[in-house]
């Protein structure tokens, strides 16, 4: 390793997504020397997300800036495989975000608090050194750069590659990941305050199609296909044919793809001086694939514990880091475990079953079916839908 600079920190954070930026912000705010390493030249671009989030989940961790919010959702509609509509209308509960602005904004906020944001830095390897500290190396350009610290936060998203070097097996089974594709669509047909979901094995095997309106006649349109039922390129094919059918002649831009972990969250979240946060720890709602609120929350909790763990002599008290695992398990652990159990159940259901649920729900008062309940919390706490589901299943 030629003349790599010997960069020493209290805490290294890998990945400037919502989880990593929140972690870096929390740790820097507490006065720690923090670096935030990001592969891309700019946090947040390109967007790989539907950009939908519930009010509560977002504001629990961060006060959103006005420019992060594209639109407010007041209604939702689920369309069953055979075309039965379930309307859900109970007031505003969620936003469509501008993630390019939000992610860049969060990284900038971390930097304002004193974290050193270092873009264009793909971490290619991470390891524990004999003195108990951790070293991250970015060796892509020939001039390898090194960063060392007694505490390491891995927030490298769906890849979660670096955790493997520390004994975590983060490789997802095909049944635990959604293979996704999405695009921005401009059309007069877009309803400005309504998100629409389509289910069924034709539209998206083991997943769903979503339409999230982001204002000015534009929407994020995307879908996920469960890995176990995927074949090369299927998400892209299904998306383009859905858009062609639903929004003929529309302007389609920003076609991208992405993977959504729908696994159980990783246990433990902490090993010695290393922590996992966000998609890297599979902290995602397995029913609907929502991860923004969870990664913000987890990142902030991990960063706070990391800051607390650094002793006056510059070493890390590993026991203090486990506070992060406990905080997470207590506040979100059970909820996401329930979502995972329900995902496994839904995956075993067929289209006829989804149609039966839709049929019974379509008779309900739209104001009484909670959008939040059905999607953002995914049947987790007040299982109206789950109850019906099990009744219908018998």
């Amino acid at each position: 390793m030629s003349d790599a600079a010997n960069n020493k920190y209290d805490i290294i954070v890998v990945g400037a997504g919502p989880a990593g930026s929140m972690a870096a912000m929390a740790a820097a705010e507490a006065g720690r020397r923090v670096c935030l390493l990001e592969r891309k030249s700019k946090a947040g671009a390109p967007v790989r997300c539907g950009e939908g989030v519930g009010f509560k989940g977002l504001t629990l961790s961060v006060e959103p800036r006005p420019e992060w919010i594209k639109s407010t959702l007041t209604r939702a509609r689920m369309v069953s495989p055979s075309g039965i509509n379930v309307e859900i209308k109970n007031g505003a509960e969620g936003w469509i975000l501008d993630r390019e602005r939000m992610d860049a904004g969060l990284a900038a906020m971390a930097a304002e608090k004193g974290a050193e944001l270092i873009p264009n830095t793909p971490v290619t390897s991470a390891e524990k050194l004999p003195d108990g500290t951790y070293r991250c190396v970015s060796a892509e350009t020939g001039d390898a750069r090194e960063f060392t610290a007694p505490c390491l936060i891995l927030a490298d998203g769906v890849e979660s590659r670096l955790a493997r070097g520390f004994g975590w097996n983060t490789a997802l089974k095909p049944g635990d990941i959604e293979s996704g594709a999405f695009a921005r669509v401009k059309s007069k047909d877009i309803e400005p305050d309504c998100c629409v979901f389509y289910t069924g094995s034709k539209a998206a095997p083991g997943g769903y199609v979503w339409i999230f309106p982001r204002g000015e006649g534009e929407a994020n349109v995307g879908l996920g296909v469960i890995g176990s039922r995927c074949r090369p390129g299927l998400p892209k094919e299904l998306l383009l044919s859905f858009i062609a059918g639903r929004f003929p002649n529309a302007e389609v831009t920003d076609l991208h793809c992405g993977g959504i972990p729908v696994a159980r969250w990783t246990r433990p979240l902490v090993k010695e001086g290393v922590m996992l946060a966000g998609d890297a720890a599979r902290q995602v709602n397995a029913i609907n694939g929502a991860g923004i609120a969870y990664s913000l929350y987890a990142g902030k909790a991990a960063g706070a514990a990391a800051a607390k763990s650094i002793r006056p002599n510059g070493t890390c008290d590993h026991r203090t880091l486990t506070e992060y695992h406990r905080t997470w398990a207590k506040n979100y652990g059970k909820q996401l475990d329930r979502s995972y159990a329900l995902k496994e159940f839904i995956m075993s259901a067929n289209d006829a079953f989804l149609d039966r649920i839709a049929e019974s729900l379509s008779k309900e008062d739209p104001a009484k079916i909670s959008y939040l309940r059905v999607f953002m919390r995914a049947f987790a706490s007040k299982p109206l839908l789950l109850l019906k589901a099990f009744k219908l299943f018998k």
Binding site: R39, R48, P122, T124, E140, T141, G157, V158, E159, S160, R161, R164, T170, A171, L172, K173, P174, I177, S179, G180, A181, V225, G227, C230, R231, P232, G233, L234, P235, K236, H256, C257, G258, G259, P261
Partner: protein, 60 residues
């Protein structure tokens, strides 16, 4: 072994998330280690943009 078509690859990292051998790495571009790859094909099936293909292990 498995190879990537850089023109089709969107650099989303989905394939890395499923590779059981930790054979794929995304730095400046996506790279697959011919030493580690067992041609299991899991990543090929998951790629949303069909950017990966495998010769079924012939070259290994």
């Amino acid at each position: 072994m498995t190879v990537v078509d850089q023109k089709k690859c969107d650099e989303c990292g989905t394939c890395i998330g499923v590779c059981p051998q930790d054979a794929i790495i995304l730095g400046k571009a996506l790279r697959i280690s011919s030493e580690k790859c067992t041609s299991c094909g899991i990543c090929v099936r998951i790629c949303p943009f069909a950017a990966l293909s495998t010769d079924g292990g012939k070259s290994k």
